[in-house]
Subunit: 83 residues, 4 copies
């Protein structure tokens, strides 16, 4: 998970960067491009967390024959994440 | 723009919160729900920036009869933002 | 608008193609890739309609000094479209 | 899968409806709202196909100890689908 924490730290830095851009009254479209970059980075972190979850928790549940509930929970969170 | 900076500070705090959740090895699906919340918050900031941009830069360009270029730029950034 | 109607006809054909794939019990992941392609095509149509709207209705409203309401409506529809 | 085919038929009808709106030169923002509705409907079909896929193919692969490849494929298609 160290890799994920590093990516989140970079995202934190990007969010601070956008704050600075707003404070310095930078061009709106440049700010929006930066926000888009943060969204992509966050989405990638979300997918890494999801993949990890399927590889561990969901797989274990399926092997124990208890996959149904685990898959339903996964789908409901994915729906929220993909809005 | 103070309101936007405050929202970005809150987002920065939320990103730090997710880092902590990852460090504490919290449940993946709870982490993903938090990431979704940050994405929504970022999207709202993006829309505020866009609205401000249309109200000022784009409107001014249109009034001067130079809207075309400004609208094309807006659309290209919006496409990236809505991916 | 002929171009947009042609794109919508192609999308209609793609949706029928997915129906056939489901009926023929094709591989789920291939079906999902096709659905993603339709979503991209629809998104592009949406952006064309939006650009046209800004170039005409919103621009006219702004020139008449009545941009505010028009821009608010645009933003509220864009928020729904970008979900 | 009958339910999914019915939903795709309804989506096909909605796409035809949008064509008609464009032909009748209806208000752009009303057209965009309709396109958003189709996108939501398509997204829901995509999630149903995904859930079905995880419940069958992915679960079977995991039970046979061959989950890794199956999960990687799922994630790569999900990334495309959630763009």
């Amino acid at each position: 998970m160290d890799k994920i924490i590093n990516r989140l730290k970079r995202i934190e830095g990007q969010v601070r960067g956008v704050q600075k851009m707003v404070e310095e009254d930078r061009y709106c479209m440049d700010i929006l491009v930066q926000i888009s970059a943060i969204q992509s980075a966050l989405k990638n972190v979300g997918f890494s967390v999801t993949e990890r979850h399927i590889n561990h928790c969901v797989s274990d549940a399926i092997k124990k024959g208890e996959g149904q509930e685990s898959i339903e929970e996964l789908m409901s969170v994915l729906k929220q994440f993909s809005k």
